[in-house]
Symmetry: C3
Subunit: 246 residues, 3 copies
């Protein structure tokens, strides 16, 4: 299941039933779990002096799509799913079932929880700390330098269940609080309020997320989104959510 054109180091540790696509390169310092599929034209385990010699570790049941690049020194949990051309630098630790859309750029030294979804083309700056069940939409940038360029990087924190919409920027050191929603094209300069909607540049809290109604004709509240959006989450998560609702 390793394509004959792939270049796989003999020192890489490859699990059972792993597929590796054409023209993909797997370097020395890589550990890949079981039942992982890796697309074409990827490069895994790029050596880097910032990785401290730690391997790239990819969890079981993961899917990495074509043209993606992962550095050594990061650990991604089970059920990772990526789009095409993602980049993951060194020093990042992510939980289970992280999704990174096409062109996503995880700059390294981030902490990412479980079941996080990055849509296409997000830029997660170094030292970001991201909770569980977070959604980040296209062209969002999490920054980290309060006075660029400098050596004093302060990451963004995104708490559980928060949602950041398309083309928004979060300034260094800011916390996007639990269950808050950042609207599209916003500049988040201060910590958001939990379960509140924030829009504009600079972003301001405008209402509770519970005020937003589904436009599917049901008129049900759209938030917390866990009340209606369940695609891709396992039964154990869904039952936890049902427990929180009742």
């Amino acid at each position: 299941m390793i394509h004959p054109t792939a270049l796989v180091s003999s020192t890489a540790i490859i699990g059972e039933r792993v597929e590796i696509g054409p023209f993909t390169i797997v370097h020395d310092n890589v550990v890949i779990g079981n039942d992982v599929r890796i697309g074409a034209h990827c490069e895994l385990g790029v050596a880097n002096h910032l990785s401290g010699g730690r391997p790239l570790s990819i969890g079981d049941n993961s899917l990495i799509r074509s043209h993606s690049v992962f550095y050594e020194g990061s650990t991604l949990g089970a059920e990772l799913v990526t789009g095409h051309r993602v980049t993951v630098r060194e020093g990042t630790i992510a939980g289970r079932n992280l999704q990174i859309g096409t062109l996503g750029d995880i700059q390294g030294h981030c902490r990412i929880g479980d079941y996080v979804r990055f849509h296409s083309n997000v830029h997660i700056g170094q030292k970001s700390v991201i909770g569980d069940f977070v959604w980040i939409f296209p062209y969002v940038v999490l920054t980290n330098d309060p006075h660029p360029p400098s050596e004093h990087l302060v990451g963004v924190t995104v708490e559980d269940y928060a949602v950041i919409s398309t083309m928004s920027v979060v300034l260094p050191g800011v916390t996007v609080s639990r269950g808050s929603l950042v609207g599209a094209h916003a500049l988040v300069t201060r910590d958001t309020e939990p379960a509140m909607v924030h829009v504009g540049s600079p972003a301001k809290a405008v209402c509770a997320t519970s005020k937003i109604r589904l436009q599917d004709g049901s008129e049900r509240p759209a938030y917390p989104w866990t009340s209606h959006f369940t695609r891709g989450y396992p039964e154990e998560v869904l039952s936890k959510w049902r427990g929180e609702e009742s």
Copy 2:
């Protein structure tokens, strides 16, 4: 004209005089017209359960530049031209002479007319409907989810001859009307007015497009742009435009 390192499925249907570059992969369910050039490091016809078994179809006289990825289940008309690293997902139907700049991401299930130009790094969300002779500039995002994340996607409509400038976001379900111009770094929250300029966040109509003058010393009106910009369009289109003017 198929490079010896390319991997081309024997079941793919390849036209006459087709060039396929080094390290490019063409999967089973692909139909390529005549006189098509495909660059290096591409992957065409990526299988996907959402494609309904339909092939990827690329029209005659097309040019696909390197590192691009096309899924099965989309149909692109004749004279497609792409930059590098474009992604086209399944279920999209595009007319003739679509241009997609480098890093463009067409998310799938879109309808795109004839002679549409996407500059670099646009993100065309699922269910977008785009007319003829539309221009979309870098880092524009057409969104589709009114309350993310949800299952209720409502695409953007962009009508004929509309222009959307750099780094603007169009919210779900909004129509960018015929011949309207969206300025750079705008957030379009409501339908635009035909042949009007819209700027800001949220975007507001500020004047007729005809008020904008060419800065080339001629002082002629810059809009409709068809009065002065003709590069790349065939004589049949130009004569149609001349007919509309007179």
Copy 3:
């Protein structure tokens, strides 16, 4: 040091101690200096009728990371460093030690000085003119068409030591003046004032850059940034800066 899977033209001029990675293509009209490392899956020297037959020239001691594409007809000085998947079109002349982050897109016909740093995913429009020691952060776009689409392109000018923060757009013909700082998510519609901070959409000058203090506990001024940020610059540059300070 040329990987056996790389495809290197016999007419390309390759310096001493050059490494070329797997699956990389070097076309005919390319001149590579000494001690250059080129990653995997790159394509160098893409032929183009706009290049006037001039070669792609890469200076000594450069590093080009994987999946990058360079056209013929551009000249990059010594110590170029790129991230992954950068694109450099024809007709650009850059000085020494240019850094281009992952996904950077240099559209061609640009002039770029010495020691310029582009962070990830910048879009440098055609005809941009960039001085020395400039910093441009992710998702910044330098535009060039005052009334898109048109044939009358007017590039942006960015003067020495200027800094443009994340997700900002600079309109055509605008000058970002020496030592000025553009905040995140700004729309720069007019020339900025030297050594002033500009924020908002449209961007306005709000204070002198010298008012910004380092958040590292030192309370020292954060600008000019050369007073505290020295990583990656050679001793000859640092001694020049020390001379300017005193």
